[in-house]
């Protein structure tokens, strides 16, 4: 019975934490995408801005492409990955705790003997 109550608590935690994180992660990803769309440089009056190399160099196209790749979310920050890890950790902890501490008997103050 204790085990099932523990399991219920864990399920509730998983249900609460993972969707909450998933929503936040989605919002964060949308924010990154929005930032990418608004990419550019705002210069105040008097500021200098220098480009290195030839402005006509086609290599700059590759650089922009590379920066876009760098800004994409790595797998370990992906919602699906974190949710899976969270579930595995909690499930593992639950199983470990259950088998490591299960005390089905005795319950209360008992005296017993076996005549076999």
């Amino acid at each position: 019975m204790k085990f099932f109550s523990k399991l219920l608590v864990m399920v509730l935690i998983v249900c609460f934490v993972v969707p909450a994180y998933s929503q936040e992660a989605q919002e964060a990803q949308e924010a990154v995408q929005e930032q990418e769309q608004q990419s550019g440089v705002n210069l105040k009056v008097g500021d200098n801005f220098y480009f290195e190399g030839n402005v006509n160099d086609n290599a700059n196209d590759d650089k922009e492409e590379s920066m876009a790749e760098t800004q994409s979310t790595p797998f370990y920050k992906q919602t699906w990955f974190i949710a899976t890890v969270a579930v595995v950790i909690i499930a593992g902890a639950a199983v470990g705790i259950y088998y490591g501490t299960r005390t089905s008997e005795p319950e209360g103050k008992v005296i017993e003997w076996d005549n076999k």
Binding site: K2, S5, K6, V9, M10, I13, F16, V17, Y21, E24, A25, A28, I82, A86, I89, I90, A93, A94, I97, T101, R102, T103, E105, P106, E107, G108, K109, V110, I111, E112, W113, D114, N115, K116
Partner: protein, 580 residues
């Protein structure tokens, strides 16, 4: 957000661990461990009980009763007081399980004592455990080994596989001589040293037997290998107490002068430096928490000094309690103290020690010089020791004890409380004596059982009976018995009959129980004391199945009056008759 997530996870895990810990709700499980038997318990038929010759003493069968008595105390220094009792009627031959109490009190020390009676209310098995500290934050799983009352059984944790699960000492089948043991306040047993015949060497090993789990744990070794040394409990107010251990021999003819105090909590020995001479075969006894070390043989003779070792606020200290009239070793020693209790329940102990027999040197067995004459028996009180004349009921020393002497007997003080006024007597068993005066006189093992009682202020009267078992170097202890019982019991670890122990003359572990009582002597027309060997379930008082032998071994008696026998390969227990 990421931090919040991980905090949530950590919180969840912490919560789970707390939830998991809530499984420790103070559950308390007592498992009764039954002695080894022939597996007949399940074949029990109440209609044929005893008729087919099968002995069900070692079983808990249908229609038996299990009585669990619970005692408690809140402070370690207090005495146990009765708390509760549970009577269980057994309705199955296969086993049973019952709740014995609704709740136990947190922060309390408990003592549990179990008595099993058959349908005719004959007491079959007893066992108990002392000093269990209960805290409702933990779960408890405690074993109680049930021994046959007034008989001895090998302690086994699982009787289905008794050979592998018997509680073993550190000696093997060839046995030992000269080891020492003592029960601590929490019921565990400390054993140290001894000469092992397996490898023919003196041992520095020491072990603690946990009687709650029926396990042995080797602990810190003695500072030197020892045999024929002393070991006695020093009550310093702690949960387990301490052990005063030392003197004896480190090897043949090399005497030891060191005495140590062993602390079972820290598993360390501290040297007790009080200027003792190197000596062996001294005797030690615990009276009112202090240890008295009496005599001991030196290179040149024997010590007369009686040391008192006590625990005070500033640690352990030693003082000279008295001096014997005649120095000796290998003697019998019994506690015959005066104990009074005032109207407020305050107990006062006036220490008195009875010293009987012994020798004035430690020559090989059978070549010693026994203590004879007027100083055969001495009564030691603080600051003095006086000789006591010994004679039988006719006023003569018919057993010639003052002439032959008596070396290496065991003595146990027994309080006979069956009458209005308590009378302390001393049961004496075994030892060996010299027949003749010359150096080549023959030596014989004492064939008699004696009971000494006071005859005025300056004399002892003895009653004697013949003994079916002769023991050259026994050790003995009083078994717990009911108050006001007309019968009192002394458990004896007999060892070998052979006087010479320089060679391997060891025999099977022989244990028997003496029954001490008053009887009417029709010839004399008066009441005398009788000491006799009680009938046993074991074949000639031997454990023939053990395949282990013993020359001599120690006994240890715990706070429940249960006696443990050591020195062989296994540990044996004699069940007491009631909580003393």
């Amino acid at each position: 957000m990421k931090r919040l997530l991980f905090l949530s996870l950590a919180f969840a895990l912490a919560f789970l661990f707390v939830a998991c810990d809530s499984g420790n709700t103070g559950d308390f499980k007592i498992t009764l461990k039954l002695p080894v038997d022939d597996g007949a318990c399940q074949d029990y038929d109440e209609d044929e009980d005893g008729e087919d010759g099968t002995d069900y003493t070692y079983c808990i069968n249908k229609n038996d009763q299990v009585l669990l008595s619970i005692y408690s105390k809140s402070e370690i220094k207090d005495d146990y007081v009765y708390a509760d009792r549970k009577l269980i009627r057994v309705n199955s031959n296969s086993g049973g399980k019952e709740e014995f109490i609704r709740s136990l009190k947190k922060g309390t020390y408990y003592r549990f004592f179990v008595e099993v009676t058959n349908k005719n209310e004959k007491l079959k098995l007893t066992g108990g455990i002392d000093g269990v500290y209960y805290d409702d934050k933990n779960n408890y799983d405690v074993d109680i080994f049930l021994a046959a009352v007034g008989d001895f059984v090998r302690v086994v944790s699982d009787r289905q596989r008794a050979d592998e699960n018997s509680l073993e000492s550190y000696f093997d089948t060839d046995g030992s001589k000269g080891s020492a043991a003592v029960a601590l306040k929490d019921g565990s047993i400390y054993m140290a040293g001894g000469y092992g015949f397996d490898d023919d060497n003196v041992m520095n090993k020491a072990a603690l037997f946990n009687m709650k789990e029926l396990k042995r744990k080797d602990v810190s070794k003695l500072k030197a290998p020892l045999y024929d040394h002393i070991a006695a409990l020093l009550d310093d107010g702690t949960e387990k107490g301490k052990v005063v251990v030392g003197l004896g021999m480190t090897e043949d003819d090399v005497l030891n002068e060191s005495v140590w105090v062993y602390d079972p909590d820290s598993d360390k020995y501290e040297t007790l430096d009080f200027g003792a001479q190197p000596m062996t075969k001294a005797r030690a006894i615990t009276i009112d928490g202090s240890v008295y070390i009496v005599g001991g043989c030196t290179d040149s003779g024997a010590s007369k000094v009686v040391y008192k070792v006590s625990a005070g606020e500033n640690g352990v200290y030693v003082e000279t309690f008295a001096n014997l009239n005649e120095g000796r070793c290998n003697h019998a020693l019994a506690d015959v103290s005066d104990v009074t209790v005032d109207e407020n329940g305050v107990k006062t102990v006036t220490p008195k020690l009875l010293v009987i027999g012994g020798s004035t040197n430690y020559k090989p067995e059978g070549k010693e010089t026994p203590v004879t004459g007027a100083n055969f028996a001495e009564l030691v009180t603080k600051g003095s020791s006086k000789p006591l004349d010994v004679a039988d009921r006719n006023g003569v020393d018919d057993s010639n004890l003052k002439v032959t002497g008596l070396i290496s007997p065991a003595a146990v003080s027994v309080v006979m409380d069956d009458k209005e006024e308590n009378e302390t007597v001393v049961a004496l068993v075994g030892g060996y004596l010299r027949n003749g005066d010359s150096d080549d006189a023959s030596w014989v093992t004492n064939p008699s059982l004696f009971v000494f009682s006071a005859n005025g202020e300056d004399a002892l009267t003895y009653d004697s009976n013949s003994s079916p078992n002769e023991c050259s170097r026994p050790s003995a202890a009083l078994l717990g018995s009911e108050d006001k019982s007309v019968l009192k019991y002394v458990a004896v670890n007999c060892g070998s009959k052979e006087i010479d122990r320089t060679a391997r003359y060891a025999s099977d572990q022989i244990v028997f129980v003496l029954q001490v009582k008053r009887v009417k002597d029709s010839d004399l027309g008066l009441e005398v004391f009788s000491s006799s060997v009680k009938d046993t379930l074991m074949d000639e008082n031997r454990d023939r199945d053990s395949d282990a032998v013993i020359s001599d071994g120690p006994v240890a008696v715990d706070g429940l009056g249960q006696v443990f026998m050591l020195g062989g390969k296994y540990v044996y227990q004699v069940g007491s008759y009631a909580v003393p």
